[in-house]
Amino acid sequence: MRALALALRNQAVLWRQLPAINGHLVVALTLALVTLPQAVAFSVTLAGVPPHFGIYAAIWGVFFCALLNPSRVFHGGPNTAMSAAIGVTLLPVAAPFGAEYMGLALTLGLMTGLIQLLFFLIRPLGRMLDLISEPVINGMICGIGLFLIFKSLTTFGGLPVNTEVEWPLWIAWHSLLAVLEIGNLHAVEVGLITLVTCFVAQQFERLRNWAILLGIAAGTAYSEYLNASLGLQNTLIEQIGNLSSIGLIHPSRPLFNQDSMPDVVAIVPGAVTLALLGLFQTTAAMRRMSRKTGGFTDSRKAIFSDAVSNCLLPFLSSLPTCASFNRMWLVHKLGIHSRVTIALSALLLLLLVLFLARWIAIIPMPAMAAVIILLGANMIKWQDIRPHLKSRGEAVVFMASFLSVLFLDLFGAVIVGSVLAIAYSKWEQANPNISLRGNVLKIRGNIYFGSLPVIEATYHVAIARVDNLVIDFSECYYIDPEGIRWLAAAKAGHKVGFLDRRSGQDRRAAMEARAANDERRTGPRRGKRDRRQRSEF
């Protein structure tokens, strides 16, 4: 009886929540529809692998992340920068869309996952990710945005992709000239229609989330019209092609044999780049979204979920996953913060793909390129850039990291960015705020080996000018051993007084009492040394 009542009540609760469940379904469907074209575009135009790689990343990558990541707005799946990095890494090694290339792409994903696992297991390594400052990440994102625009130009013009690796700015210029002079005009038209539709839809709040889908629909409709009226043999517009290989699960194995060893070794730097790119974006997006929603999720948990997902995904023929900031923003805006909804969206996408494969196959490639161009342009946002231009230090770091993406490869940019971020924070610490008022030299900041020369310069000026100098370090928050030695030497060499308002008389008396207590307990020597050290201050 009781059980029945309970069941009835549960059902009543379920009934009352039905609108909410409906809401979950709508959100999940929206997410699936938004992710699908991105997944196809990233895998085909950027990573150089068949579309099912991206689609499986959008299914299983999102699903695993929803299971493993405790954040309620986290949305994983394929990512622009990572897909571009896969293409850049693998192009010199193998021919795109070939069997070897696909195998190596999976190997690259697995290596990425293993490296990320290292970041989880070695705690300080994971903490290093927090040292990457915002200007570095924003500079890299802007650089990658520009990179995406250049990279998709040839596909936009219906031209074969240049398979050389490097792409300095003049290659971009020549690609633009090639599109203008020898590009397939039908392809250019399809691309332009997609681009304009997406762009116009984006300008309206209501259509914004559907912009990509609308654009692709318009582009596909136009290309179908052209193919019907002129014939595919005359329009020569490349399409995504056969998706019949899509099934529930598509098991795969990374390429790892004796023949491929040189190639596998050659792509190790690429794997490091990929791992770092993924983790940067995941931690940065989590940090930003958490601050927006007012919640907090330990970034270590995000690293764990990314690492484990990326170790599993290569066996499901999928691209690696990491956080997608634009989709997370969408989840947040749709107003339902639930991991179940996100997992549901992944499964819905699987159903969609199983039934819509025929329609996805006719999407023209120039439309995909147009989507990438738009996403690239959206990555360069003035409101992200402007705050960094206000302070000179940040502006330098931002510009350097932006330019290093354009002039070096992505791996070089990651290195330059990390070094710059650390150098920047050290530089900030190395310039403490020092002021001389009367006979008080006040130091605000750190006293450590890096800042000592700056402090010394002012200190010697002050010593020459003032008789009984007092150094006030009550607003110092860190003194390293070298700083202590310097303070001791200053005290011994000149008649300098020290002022530390944090330790007033009462606290000093308490400390002395404790020291005396220690002396009684552990013997005189240690206590004496302690007291001597303290009295130097």
């Binding site: 021919a95 040839t154 031209l159 074969p160 240049n162 398979t163 050389e164 690796v165 490097e166 300095p168 003049w170 290659i171 020549h174 690609s175 090639a178 599109v179 203008l180 002079e181 020898i182 590009g183 005009l185 250019v188 038209e189 332009l192 681009l195 304009v196 762009f199 116009v200 300008q203 002039f407 070096l408 070089g412």
Partner: protein, 366 residues
């Protein structure tokens, strides 16, 4: 209302910009179409070569060269007017890549010069005889880097890169490294025209696809083909001054007379770069082979294998542009070397009046 206007402008400006780009593209396409339809003015070399092979439009093509040498009359599918123009343009590009003989460089070479950084290099410098070098009796020469023999081996395994290289990719490598240039798109007219010309040569010479002919590539000289004295920079320098400097100039910077190229640069900014196979420190057998078979002009095959290797070694150690994939630091270093070294060497040489070391030259000659 102002908000609406702003929104409208926000949408209209980028859309109009895109429309402008589209109009520009349509205009450029029309321009290109016009150039492709225009009659081609051949260079003197091409006029002679194509006339010898009786290139003409028609339903059937019969090569007089094959008929004369073998007595077989082999009828192949003929060429349309459009094919003929493509072949003629391809021949012009090979013979005169820099467009020095053209009336309007941009129009007649269309995009050929756009893809080469320096002002010296031309395809014909390596692929001699407009890609089809023959002796006086009309025999094709071994290791003459024939374009025809190269086309028959296209889509075959390339032993340097380990890839199966289409002919178009091979041309791109030529543009990027051997002429230190930019990369044309694989669908570009330059690539298509050169391919058309190379294919025509195979028809004219009756070379069959998939076969390897002696005239393909260079007649490479490995270290094992010498007396194994080792490659020597000092011997190479002495030999260079004795045999090559008169045309190629001191320090291999090439010579230009009255605005026309007299001899191309072997080093410096107008030369091939450090990732070209002509670069001795990258592939050490190709440049010596080229020197032995083709240099000095008029005295071919007079240098010994060892001498060719020494000269190639010396030339390749002169400052030259970095390869595209070597990164910005190497590029910067090479740029500095190319700017700083030549004047320094000139000063040092005028100060010491350096003579070639007589003893070393004697040894190398033996």
């Amino acid at each position: 209302m102002p908000q609406f206007a702003r929104k409208l402008a926000q949408i209209a400006v980028p859309v109009l910009a895109l429309a402008g780009l589209y109009v520009l593209a349509v205009h450029k396409h029309a321009q290109r179409e016009e150039i492709r339809r225009a009659a081609v003015t051949l260079t003197p070399g091409c006029t002679e070569k194509l006339a010898r092979y009786a290139l003409a439009a028609g339903p059937q093509y019969v090569s007089p060269y094959v008929l004369q040498r073998t007595g077989n009359r082999i009828g192949l599918q003929g060429y349309s007017e459009e094919d003929i123009r493509a072949i003629q343009r391809g021949c012009n590009i090979i013979d005169d890549t820099q467009g020095q003989l053209a009336k309007d460089r941009y129009r007649e070479r269309w995009t050929a010069t756009r893809y080469i950084r320096g002002s010296h290099l031309s395809c014909d410098h390596c692929h001699q005889g407009i890609g089809d070098k023959q002796d006086a009796a009309g025999n094709r020469l071994k290791g003459s880097i024939s374009l025809a023999a190269s086309w028959t081996m296209s889509d075959m395994y390339d032993r340097f890169t380990g890839l199966i290289l289409p002919f178009e990719f091979k041309q791109m490598q030529c543009f990027i490294n051997s002429s230190n240039g930019y990369k044309p798109n694989i669908a570009d007219d330059v690539i298509r025209d050169v391919t058309a010309y190379s294919r025509f040569l195979t028809a004219a010479l009756d070379l069959r696809i998939g076969n390897r002919y002696d005239e393909q590539g260079t007649d490479e000289i490995a270290a094992s083909d010498t007396q194994k004295q080792g490659d020597d920079y000092i011997r190479g320098e002495a030999l260079y001054k004795q045999k090559c400097q008169r045309c190629h100039g001191p320090q291999g910077l090439g010579q230009v007379a009255e605005g026309k190229l007299f001899a191309p640069a072997l080093a410096g900014p107008n030369s091939w770069n450090m990732q070209s196979r002509n670069y001795f420190n990258y592939v050490s057998t190709i440049l010596p082979g080229f020197i032995c078979r083709n240099m000095p002009l008029g005295q071919e095959n007079t240098l010994s294998n060892q001498q060719c290797r020494d000269i190639a070694y010396y030339i390749s150690n002169l400052p030259r542009p970095a390869g595209d994939r070597q990164g910005p630091l190497v590029a910067l270093r090479q740029q500095i070397m190319m700017t700083v070294m030549p004047p320094l060497v000139r000063i040092a040489e005028t100060a010491t009046e350096a003579e070639p070391h007589p003893k070393l030259v004697l040894e190398a000659d033996q």
